[in-house]
């Protein structure tokens, strides 16, 4: 934020405080305004800092897995996937094909759930109150599948190091297929509600433009980068957990504005259903747990593994010193890094655009602060 010891007569500093319905968590944004136009912003974060990385140094590898769900609590399954993949890489083991396929199904369901929550809350912030109810109704069906599989809806702890703990339940494939068939018309319904709606288009088009070069400068990944026109997705670039077997498209946008991010995420939901359908059709039989040693004590070393979480590139940098507890677990949080770009995106916009842009970045404060 520009340093100023006194304010110009027209300028105003306003606090969009940590308690705010539209900041998606406890985020404080200090706005410097000239009338309604935003000249500068400053984000103050850390209200939800729980010291997850410090906890990681004091728990064993298996014991730390429930804690990672609580960072991006909206899409807990991806966090677990990233962590399990990182530790499996340190141990040099791989999960068996059936475990990988079930992991893909759950991760894509989790992507749909995360985007649904994003859509509902984003629309709510803009002022469209209806979609949030429909999105949560759909999300309820996904959470039912999670509950049937692992016993919890939100903080799932679904995956274990080396594979899966639970075999899929009776009726898993049927319920998933039924969900996919039921869900696609719902996406069309959301599109009918929002996509051509003149108020929606007016609020989102040309707001918060972030070009591809700016995205790369700021290290922004995920749908924000894809909306700027860069066709890059870690599931295609560096596939993990069997993603190379599935056919899906990477939606990209043109202008890098908020409307493009909306269309990219809607299309990602459709592509996620496509992946789920393929994975369920081809679910291989076999064991669900790989050859994991009884005591997980990886050799001294460090590894960085990242996955395409619904919010961006979620990475885990795990350092091991040959003991049962990790020496350092660093989580590369996509929301934290995407939030940095907020300042660039709101320049010249109005206060209402700040709300739209915070929503479109799809941040979860649990991940920003860890």
């Amino acid at each position: 934020m520009p340093e100023a010891t006194y304010l110009d007569a027209n300028e105003l500093v306003i606090n969009m405080g940590p308690q705010h319905p539209s900041t998606h968590g406890v985020l404080r944004v200090i706005l410097k305004l000239d009338g309604e136009k935003v000249i500068g912003t400053e984000c103050v974060i850390g209200y939800l800092h729980r010291g997850v990385e410090k906890i990681g140094e004091n728990r064993t590898y298996q014991q730390f897995a429930p804690y990672v769900d609580r960072m991006d609590y909206v899409a807990a399954v991806s966090n677990g996937l990233g962590y399990c993949l990182a530790v499996e890489k340190l141990l040099n083991i791989e999960a068996p094909p059936r475990a990988q396929a079930v992991r893909v199904i759950l991760t894509e369901l989790n992507r749909i759930a995360s985007h649904l929550l994003w859509l509902g809350t984003h629309a709510l912030d803009i002022g469209a109150i209806t979609p949030v109810f429909y999105c949560f109704r759909e999300r309820e069906e996904v959470l039912k599948i999670f509950e049937n599989y692992c016993g919890a809806r939100l903080t799932t702890h679904a995956f274990r190091i080396g594979g899966l703990q639970y075999e899929t339940y009776e009726g898993f494939e049927e319920q998933t297929r039924k969900f996919c068939d039921w869900f696609i018309p719902k996406v069309d319904e959301y599109e009918r509600l929002l996509t051509n709606n003149r108020i929606w288009v007016g609020r989102l088009k040309n707001v918060g433009v972030l070009t591809a070069d700016e995205c790369k400068e700021y290290g922004v990944t995920g749908p924000v980068l894809r909306a700027a026109g860069v066709k890059w997705d870690l599931r295609k670039a560096q596939p993990y957990s069997g993603y190379e077997q599935y056919e899906f498209e990477i939606p990209i946008g043109e202008n890098g504005d908020t409307y493009d991010r909306y269309t990219v995420r809607m299309e990602e939901m459709r592509q996620a259903v496509r992946i789920i359908r393929q994975a369920v059709d081809r679910l291989p039989a076999g064991p669900i747990m790989g050859k994991v040693p009884k005591v997980i004590k990886p050799a001294v070393g460090e590894v960085y593994v990242s996955i395409e979480a619904p919010k961006g590139e979620l990475g885990y940098f795990v350092v091991s010193d040959n003991s049962t507890q990790p020496y350092r677990v660093r989580v590369r949080p996509p929301s934290f890094i995407n939030l940095q770009a907020l300042d660039r995106m709101v320049r010249g916009g109005l206060v209402a655009d700040v709300v739209a842009i915070i929503g479109t970045l799809d941040i979860v404060l649990g991940e920003v602060d860890r």
Binding site: I45, G46, H49, G51, E53, K54, I55, E57, N58, T60, Q62, Q63, K89, L90, L91, N92, K216, E217, Y218, G219, V230, W232, A237, Q238, K291, P293, K294, V295, I296, K297, P298, A299, V300, G301, E302, V303, Y304, S306, E313, G315, F317, V319, N322, S323, T324, Q325, Y327, R328, R330, R332, F336, I337, L339, Q340, D369, R370
Partner: protein, 210 residues
Amino acid sequence: MADEHKPDGPAPPPPAGGEAGTPPAKPAAPSAKAPLPKPPAVMAVTPWESDITQLLKERFDGQIPEFSTYLGQNFLVAAPEALVPVLETLKLELDFDYLVDITAVDYPKRPERFDVVYILYSFARNERVRVKIRIPDGYRPATAVTVHLTANWLEREVFDMFGIQFEGHPDMRRILLPEEWQGHPLRKDYSILKQDQAWVRENLSIESGQ
């Protein structure tokens, strides 16, 4: 509740019914009589050769002592003074234009206490590389903000958690913890139960531990 805490001392034994003497990180040996070799105490790296290392060796003769690879992931250890030139060369000539992460690891027993790690990715090559520098406590490395704009908040977080100040950073202050917090939590000598008692008492008006 605090009394029920078992002391966070030595690592607990295996949770799934193992007997004493299970070999670490190896599948069950056919005969448990022969003593199994202990895993190495340092990272078992293999040297890394590619066009990237060629160019960097030419450019920074002697300032990059190590080019290694571990589990398929390449990294290089640079001298701390050469950090920003190395990052610039990687960005401008070798297409490593995306700074993924900056983090640090604390090894209190080493004279060069901190290991600051920069993870870079190249869209064109679809490759990742790590740049590590080893610095003692109190050393202020140059900031990477001039090369990659992402480094702004990432370096603030490293400062907040470890106390490593970056020279030339536009806004070096704490990001996740409150401004007046004393101490740097991710250092190994900061115990997990410790808090800044004075800050908690002043600002939350409770005694710590509740």
